[in-house]
Amino acid sequence: MNQLGKRFKCQACGTEVLCTKAGEGSAVCCNQEMELQQPRPLPSSD
């Protein structure tokens, strides 16, 4: 899976990370895989 430019969120502590270099691994926080965030439904105002 290409993770470049994807945001991930920890469901336990709320930490968010952004992938700026793709790799084989997966993002883990608080001993669990972080959840892939979907693009925001509302476009930004700029």
């Binding site: 470049l4 430019g5 925001r40 509302l42 476009p43 930004s44 700029d46």
Partner: protein, 519 residues
């Protein structure tokens, strides 16, 4: 995190995508990042260091964007100047900022030369677009330095921009804006660069305006292509949208009206435009209604904010621009479209208060105040006006009055002060009055805003002449034109025998607006 990370992130995610397009030239994210590093090295070698101020006097162009990021990478503070201002006004802002460096566009070189002898703070002047014998040349700085990554200690709460805005009284106010102010907005509202999503933002709002800076920073973090226009010109705007397939644009109401009223509007293919944001002044209902009708494919957003809030604090979103549902729902939506600035964004609190700072019940008019991590903490070197800008418990007084409905939508109910807003530019009545008072034939004068279908408001001077003197309206307007930025000059003059005053001698602007405030 600070704003320079936006450029690093997008350069990593989409290095080969166009970061900027300007008059036929293109720079990818990788190239832009390299040029920024080179400029930062050059500025560092010239002695620029953390906390120093760098002023910019130039219309929108790639060099403005690069200069911002280069200064920010060194921890310096970028002060973009209103390029429509006159020498006196510019000198005041540069001296107030105590700028060590001044970037000057080709068309402003002579103005800079006129100012520099009286500006002891400016150590280096850097010309953009033309080599000048008495200035450093931007092109040389960028071509001769290292492209290695520049790193310096930048705190989240450090100031990154010093932006000048008109107040209702006196000279422009410097608003220091922090890295975390912009970062808070961007991370909360903008999706980061994605290899799959390509957006192209046509930026015509000037970079000395907070909406321009917000658009620039959002574009960088979003991996968007920033299509820069020197200044707004309707035909060029239409051609650029069509040619570059712009997907989003920010416009002030006057610009949007000019676009949709343009005689050849229908001849252009604007179907790429997905998002049109408007703000900076009240949008006439007829204008937004027509715009929605002639561009049904676009999603419209009303963004409300001000320099002191690091731009947008409330939005009336695209769903609020779709007038559908029962008759009752349609009526509610039409009312919102006509008067509402929408609801607060998640990273800011907004409420309506009375004169004592106490929150008023829904539907009751009061002062709109705001609080949050990105609100400014005070004006630059101005304790008095800082104290006046906040309630006793730390809420920023926006200067706008309004009320809130049962679903959290905020409606505007006029300014709480005397500020005139013409085409998105704030005009201080007092600054104009100072200039009017310097006219040898003027005894006293006051300035009010009068409604204008194209510009929102126009300044009108109410003038009392000295005994025995005569003067024409043109003479008075020309006097102001020669001393102030052109957009500030009064567009009409009313001559009166005396100004209405209260018991302590204060001019009653409300009475003047009632008597002379009609177009």
């Amino acid at each position: 995190m600070n704003t320079t990370d936006f450029l690093s992130i997008s350069s990593a995610i989409c290095p080969d995508r166009d970061a900027m397009v300007f008059e036929g030239e293109r720079w990818t994210y990788s190239q832009a990042s390299e040029r920024v590093n080179k400029l930062a090295h050059a500025l560092g070698e010239l002695g620029l260091k953390k906390g120093d101020r760098v002023a910019m006097l130039q219309v929108n162009c790639p060099e403005c964007v690069e200069s911002y990021y280069a200064a920010a990478k060194l921890g310096a503070i970028f002060a973009p100047l209103n390029f429509r201002a006159k020498v006196d006004e510019l000198s005041y802002m540069i001296a107030n900022a105590e700028a060590r460096m001044l970037f000057v566009g080709k068309r402003y070189v002579d103005m800079a030369r006129a100012m520099l002898p009286s500006l002891s703070c400016v150590e280096q002047c850097i010309s953009i677009g033309s080599k000048e014998a008495d200035m450093l040349f931007y092109g040389d700085l960028v071509s001769s330095s290292s492209a290695d990554e520049v790193s310096s200690e930048i705190g989240d709460e450090d100031i990154t921009i010093l932006m000048y805005t008109a107040g209702t009284t006196g000279r422009p106010k410097g608003v220091p804006l922090r890295h975390d102010g912009f970062v808070s907005y961007i991370l909360e509202n903008v999706d980061p660069a994605s290899p799959e999503i390509e957006e192209r933002n046509l930026l015509t709002v000037p970079l000395y305006h907070v909406a321009g800076i917000q658009g620039m920073l959002a574009a960088t973090y979003g991996g968007r292509t920033l299509i820069l226009m020197r200044q707004f010109e309707v035909k060029e705007w239409l051609e650029t949208v069509q040619k570059e397939r712009a997907t989003r644009a920010m416009l002030v109401p006057t610009m949007l009206k000019t676009i949709i009223d343009y005689r050849d509007f229908a001849k252009y293919d604007l179907s790429s435009l997905q998002v049109i944001t408007y703000g900076a002044a009240s949008m006439p209902f007829e204008v937004i209604s027509k715009a929605m009708k002639v561009m049904p494919w676009a999603r419209f957003i009303n963004a409300f904010g001000q320099t002191e809030t690091a731009s947008t604090i409330t939005i009336l979103g695209p769903e609020d621009h779709i007038i559908e549902g029962t008759e009752e729902e349609k009526e509610k939506k039409l009312k919102r479209l006509a008067q509402s600035i929408g609801r607060p964004l998640p990273d800011v609190e907004v409420k309506i208060v009375d004169e004592e700072g106490k929150e008023v019940p829904g539907f009751e008019v009061g002062e709109i105040v705001a609080k949050g991590s990105r609100i400014m903490t005070g004006y630059w070197h101005d304790e008095d006006r800082t104290a006046q800008a906040f309630t006793s418990d730390g809420w920023l007084i926006t200067g706008d009055r309004g009320w809130i409905d049962d679903e959290g939508y905020i409606f505007l109910a006029g300014r709480g002060d005397d500020m005139i807003i013409r085409g998105g530019e704030n005009i201080s009545p007092e600054e104009l009055e100072d200039v009017l008072h310097s006219h040898p034939k003027v005894e006293e004068a006051a300035v009010i805003g009068v409604p204008d279908p194209e510009w929102g408001q126009q300044p009108r001077a109410i003038v009392v002449l000295k005994e025995g003197e005569t003067a024409s309206a043109e003479e008075v307007m020309e006097h102001c034109r020669s001393k102030l930025a052109g957009f500030k000059r009064p567009r009409s003059v009313a001559f009166v025998d005396s100004l209405p005053r209260n018991s302590v001698g204060k001019v009653l602007r409300k009475t003047l607006r009632e008597q002379y405030g009609q177009p």
